[in-house]
């Protein structure tokens, strides 16, 4: 194969390059559509009647109805939704409450133990949850935490704490040190520095961290299905039991799925800029 140097100005090369780029663009659009299609199809099916939803060949033009969404929300779906909201929100708040001071100390007052502490914090996130599951079932039942929102909040907070500490430490480390030093000289205490300077300056990072933490709690299934029964089950548990209890109601299934997934996809898009940093625990900025 002979390489074509940049110097050789063959006629038509530019045009061919542009055509190639256009081809790649079209390929990218097609792929993006294909990858997103299952989500789109679920949303669309949520607006169909049950007959249209299970029709084969599939129906692409139909009269949209909101009946499925109404039906789903008048069932016990609402209580699962509430549980998800309270548990995801509560655990995120608790993780931030514990994690922000720790991240602050690790970022601004590093000691020779800092790398060790960080590494240990992260290691707690890497062991499989299933390895902790058995004692959690036994202990939670004994201590009255089984099937309670509080029990799930405590657990999810613990599972999101490493994310909060690592991500916020990495955002704090990006702040200009001079401002903090000036504030310390002016006699501002930790709470003041935190609420007046550090948190406002790292607000986008904080928002992304909180969103990621909410997403992980919202989607978690293994612990939820094993540690809840009737009082505190979350949406993933509802969805997993849908087919067995409801039979072949695809339109309602799609409506329920759409409402379970849409908030998270929107949150994910909002957190997009800091997503990689969160998913890699701050290793990639």
């Amino acid at each position: 194969m002979s390489a074509v140097g940049l110097g050789t100005n063959r006629p038509g090369l530019g045009a061919r390059l542009r055509l190639g780029a256009l081809g790649l663009n079209l390929l990218t659009y097609a792929l993006a559509f294909l990858i997103f299609f299952p989500i789109l199809w679920t949303v669309v099916t949520g607006f169909k009647t049950e007959a249209d939803a299970a029709a084969t060949p599939p129906v692409f033009l139909f009269h949209a109805t909101l009946a499925n969404f109404r039906a789903v929300f008048s069932s016990d779906y609402a209580s699962y939704f509430d549980n998800s909201l309270i548990i995801a929100g509560g655990s995120t708040l608790l993780a931030l409450l514990l994690g922000l001071p720790a991240a602050y100390a690790l970022a601004f007052r590093p000691s020779k133990h800092t790398p060790k502490i960080l590494s240990w914090v992260l290691s707690t996130k890497m062991l499989p949850a299933v390895g902790a599951l058995i004692p959690l079932i036994v202990i939670y039942k004994r201590e009255g935490l089984y099937d309670t929102r509080l029990g799930m909040i405590l657990l999810y907070a613990a599972f999101n704490l490493p994310l909060v500490i690592w991500m916020m430490r990495s955002f704090f480390a990006d702040l200009p040190r001079e401002i903090l030093e000036a504030a310390t000289v002016d006699g501002a205490g930790f709470v003041r520095i935190m609420t007046r300077i550090v948190i406002p300056l790292s607000a986008p990072g904080l928002a992304a961290t909180a969103l990621l933490s909410v997403i992980f709690s919202w989607n978690e299934f293994l612990l939820a299905v094993n540690l809840t029964a009737v009082n505190a089950p979350t949406l993933p548990v509802f969805i997993s039991g849908f087919t067995t209890s409801e039979g072949l109601f695809w339109a309602k299934l799609s409506a329920a799925s759409t409402m379970a997934v849409a908030p998270v996809i929107l949150a994910g898009w909002l957190a997009q800029r800091s997503l990689v940093r969160g998913l890699t625990f701050g290793a990639v900025k």
Partner: protein, 284 residues
């Protein structure tokens, strides 16, 4: 200021592992009072490692799934990242659409694909498949492994894409320019410049992916219940069955301890990589 966080973490996440270890040396079936609750030493481990045929199947399945899903998502993720790492109209929209699957609740993914797509009679996949002239296939029954892998790859390819895209954006244009002036074609440029510079990101993506995908549970719970037979029984799913269906605390704990050991090996490698980048930072 660090102490409350550390204590909370230790109590909630580390203490259970210690208790799991303790339980793993005991004979204890919650629902069967005729079996005495007592210390049995390494008996549970001996049984799991030498006698239990399902445990061995579960390990093999877990390795197979992890390799296929990590490998598949990595290759697709790299392709997506390369396509997105160019400037073209609507690039942001394309990127947003392509990362969306990662946010989808795994149980929703499994329920929707199992019914709307893979249902043998009404599913969309078979409509496309038969329209192309092929015979109807009951995907989950005849290709259970492939179906689970497909579901998981759909979710994890975007994750790989995100990490690799960040890596690609870190490669400076000057390096590429220099390579092009030296007469490198696109293939050479990819092999000699892009891949080596992407190395640490690929490593990171593989290790993180393995940590999460080793824990694959929701898709299996919803779509196949580990079946048909034990075809899709993974280690987490088997542990779930041992504790939630057989109520066997001793055996499930021994399985749990072994699962922790496997993950710990991978986690150690990942931690070493992350602490190294914690000192230097991957992107300048």
């Amino acid at each position: 200021m660090i102490l409350p966080a550390l204590v909370f973490l230790a109590v909630m996440t580390q203490a259970p592992f210690v208790v799991t270890l303790w339980y793993s040396f005991r004979q204890w079936v919650i629902t069967d009072p005729t079996i005495p609750h007592k210390w049995v030493g390494f008996e549970n481990f001996r049984y799991e490692l030498t006698e239990d045929p399902i445990f061995r199947t579960a390990i093999l399945n877990t390795v197979e799934f992890t390799a296929a899903i990590v490998g598949g998502s990595l290759v697709l993720g790299l392709a997506f990242a390369l396509l997105l790492n160019r400037s073209f109209p609507l690039r942001g929209v394309a990127r947003s659409l392509m990362i969306a699957p990662f946010f989808v609740m795994p149980t929703v993914n499994a329920v929707v694909q199992k019914n709307l797509f893979l249902n043998p009679i009404f599913g969309l996949s078979n409509w496309v498949w038969t329209s192309l002239g092929f015979h109807r296939v009951d995907w989950l029954a005849t290709h259970p492994k492939l179906s689970i892998i497909e579901m998981a790859v759909w979710q994890w390819a975007p994750f790989m894409m995100l990490i690799l895209l960040a890596g690609l954006q870190g490669i400076s244009d000057e390096v590429r320019e220099a390579a092009r002036i030296d007469g490198a074609g696109p293939v050479t440029e990819f092999r000699r410049i892009t891949l080596p510079l992407l190395g640490p990101y690929i490593q990171l993506a593989i290790l993180l992916g393995m940590i999460y995908i080793l824990q694959l549970f929701a898709e299996i719970f919803v779509a196949t219940q580990g079946g048909p037979g034990t075809e899709t029984t993974t280690l987490p799913y088997y542990i779930y069955q041992t504790i939630a269906q057989a109520n066997d605390v001793g055996s499930s704990s021994a399985e749990g301890v072994l699962a922790i050991v496997f993950s710990a090996i991978i986690a150690t490698l990942l931690l070493r990589l992350l602490t190294r980048t914690f000192r230097s930072g991957l992107t300048a």
